[in-house]
């Protein structure tokens, strides 16, 4: 309960800071909010409509009250409620980011375990080098490289159709597909974005898994287990996995900001209509309500993921039964 309160307090601070950020920006915010074609009278009317002519404290109260009711204002670009605009984009991002996160852990954790088991040997060094390289590369550049190879390159070199992958959007334009064919089409469009997000994520997760597994392996009870003849497979599946689980859950929550940042670039490059792309286009269009709304949603996601990890930890620690 206390942790929940702290999370809410944090969220309130985030909302307050975003409000302050807009007010700290140079110039009159209404100058940014009013379309350049509007007349002076229109501008004044809009200012009144938006409450910008009222004292700061009242504006803050109004904004806060709106946020509490889930009302984040109206998008300037589309004149639709911000919450609705965000809700349209959310499934795309959750689908893309969530799938990427799952693949990330499915690849990253076994890689980390393999590295820890062969610490200091060739495989460990090779994987560490690859992970460090991938980690240093900007996602948008990797995305361009993949597009060059698998979209344009594949067509030029006459690669088999299975390796020719679409670079833009979620669906093939202009064709009506149903059921299985439609799913297949979506999957083909998802391959490149998912590869980028999962590769970068797995590089980070493997690094952490390697450290935590190495820690566990150096424990005395692992030595005991081995000494009494437990098979290596059982040592890893039973002893090691159970003991790195808490660390991995924390890492899951910690990797969210990275996934969000990655998906902002990946969605922009691959033209996926998710929250990341929405945010970037809203920034270019100076659509502030959408930008602030997305920021608050992102922050809420991170805060509650951390809270969830915090609350789950006591239940995951294998020492709880001892």
């Amino acid at each position: 309960m206390r942790r929940f309160g702290a999370a809410l307090l944090l969220l309130w601070l985030v909302v307050t800071i975003t409000f302050a950020l807009v007010r700290l920006a140079p110039g009159d915010p209404s100058a940014l909010l009013v379309p350049p074609t509007a007349s002076a009278a229109d501008a004044a009317r809009l200012r009144a409509e938006l409450g910008l002519d009222r004292p700061l404290a009242m504006q803050y109260a109004h904004w806060m009250a709106g946020v509490l009711r889930g009302n984040l204002g109206e998008s300037f670009a589309t004149r639709r409620p911000v919450a609705g605009v965000l809700l349209d984009a959310l499934p795309v991002s959750v689908g893309l980011g969530g799938t990427a996160l799952i693949i990330t852990f499915l690849i990253g954790v076994p890689l980390g375990i393999m590295q820890a088991a062969r610490r200091g040997r060739f495989l460990d060094h090779a994987l560490t080098t690859i992970a460090t390289l991938v980690y240093a590369a900007p996602s948008y550049w990797l995305a361009l490289a993949l597009v060059a190879v698998f979209t344009y390159g594949a067509a030029t070199w006459g690669l088999p159709p299975g390796l020719r992958l679409p670079a833009f959007g979620m669906q093939s334009p202009g064709v009506e597909l149903h059921d299985a064919a439609r799913l297949m089409d979506l999957a083909r469009h998802a391959v490149l974005p998912l590869t980028i997000l999962a590769a970068i994520g797995a590089a980070g997760v493997a690094r952490y898994a390697r450290t935590s597994v190495a820690d566990v392996l150096s424990q005395e009870w692992v030595r005991t287990a081995r000494a009494k003849g437990v098979s290596p497979r059982r040592v890893y599946l039973h002893h090691v996995l159970a003991n790195i689980l808490p660390a991995m859950v924390v890492l899951f929550a910690l990797s969210l900001p990275g996934v969000i940042a990655g998906s902002i670039f990946v969605e922009s490059v691959f033209a996926w209509p998710g929250m990341g792309r929405l945010m970037v286009s809203a920034i270019s269009a100076r659509d502030y309500p959408v930008v602030l709304g997305a920021t608050i949603w992102y922050a809420a996601l991170v805060i509650f993921a951390n809270l969830g990890a915090d609350l789950a930890l006591p239940f995951l620690d294998p020492r709880r039964d001892v």
Binding site: L24, A25, P26, Y135, A148, Y208, T295
Partner: protein
């Protein structure tokens, strides 16, 4: 801490970074043509790497769509990227150190308030925070640096606060106070120098991160604005040429990766030796 002997990895990384810094200073000075000016586009554009253009000028990395030499532009961009990365992360670390030290030393409401703000800012993914700030202010060099500082001080502040709290409990701090040293002197002369190790490591790791973030902002068109080159906006410029002239996007990308790699390896190595795993945090990737 005394003198630090550098390991081989650290020497190589430092040497690479220094070499790059020297190149970024020297190469644009030696350029025969203004790397920003657009000349005879039709005859000079998209010359491939290691080729000579119609005027007989050699281009190590070829030219871009406006016929400007990519190598010179890349080095010019490197000036900005390196400067932004180094200044941004050092200044952010300085602000973080100050806030963290004051918070730990003052305690009470100062501590509570500053750490609450730090936590709230940490809850917003750094790239999102950067995008919001870049959107609210005019995009450009100053904005990028200011925004990097504004979004980068929190981690160091938390680190330094923890270290100062730890140092504060040490007997030598009590001894200094008992000898009549004023609180400010105790903080500056005794507590801070002993709490700086992790902050230095975090700063080194932060340079690569800041360079990545700057390039990302510039790629999205919210950072350094053309014609001023930055690795990020150069990659963006090569985006639709990825088939016709892949070198335009590849060259700045390789420079970016090499730089970030050098910074990361240097930071990782320093962290392993100086700060233990406490300095380890998942960084916000670009």
């Amino acid at each position: 801490m005394g003198r630090i002997a550098l390991t081989r990895v650290e020497c190589v990384c430092l040497a690479a970074l220094v070499l790059l810094a020297l190149l970024t200073i020297i190469v644009p000075l030696l350029a025969r043509r203004d790397p920003l000016a657009i000349g005879d586009v039709l005859s000079l554009r998209l010359v491939p790497p290691f080729a000579t253009d119609s005027r007989g000028d050699f281009h190590l990395l070829g030219t871009d769509r406006f016929g400007r030499d990519l190598f010179v532009r890349m080095m010019l961009a490197g000036r900005l990227s390196l400067a932004v990365g180094v200044i941004g992360s050092i200044a952010a670390a300085a602000v973080g150190t100050l806030v963290g030290a004051i918070a730990a030393w003052q305690g009470g409401i100062t501590d509570g308030m500053s750490m609450a703000i730090a936590d709230a800012l940490l809850a917003i993914p750094r790239l999102v925070l950067l995008l919001v700030c870049a959107a609210l202010w005019q995009p450009g060099l100053t904005t990028v640096v200011v925004v990097l500082i504004a979004t980068g001080w929190m981690g160091v502040a938390r680190l330094v606060r923890g270290e100062v709290l730890g140092v504060r409990a040490q007997p030598y701090v009590d001894a200094a106070t008992a000898l009549g040293a004023r609180p400010r002197r105790v903080l500056l002369r005794h507590a801070l120098p002993n709490a700086l190790g992790p902050a230095i490591v975090a700063t080194t790791l932060g340079v690569g991160n800041a360079i990545l973030l700057e390039s990302g902002l510039s790629f999205l068109g919210l950072g350094i604005q053309p014609p001023q080159p930055s690795w990020g906006n150069m990659i963006a410029g090569g985006r639709d040429l990825i088939v016709a002239a892949p070198w335009v996007a590849i060259a700045p990308g390789v420079a970016l990766i090499a730089t970030v790699l050098a910074c990361t390896l240097l930071g990782d190595s320093l962290r392993d030796r100086l700060a233990g795993e406490s300095g380890a945090t998942l960084r916000d990737r670009a």
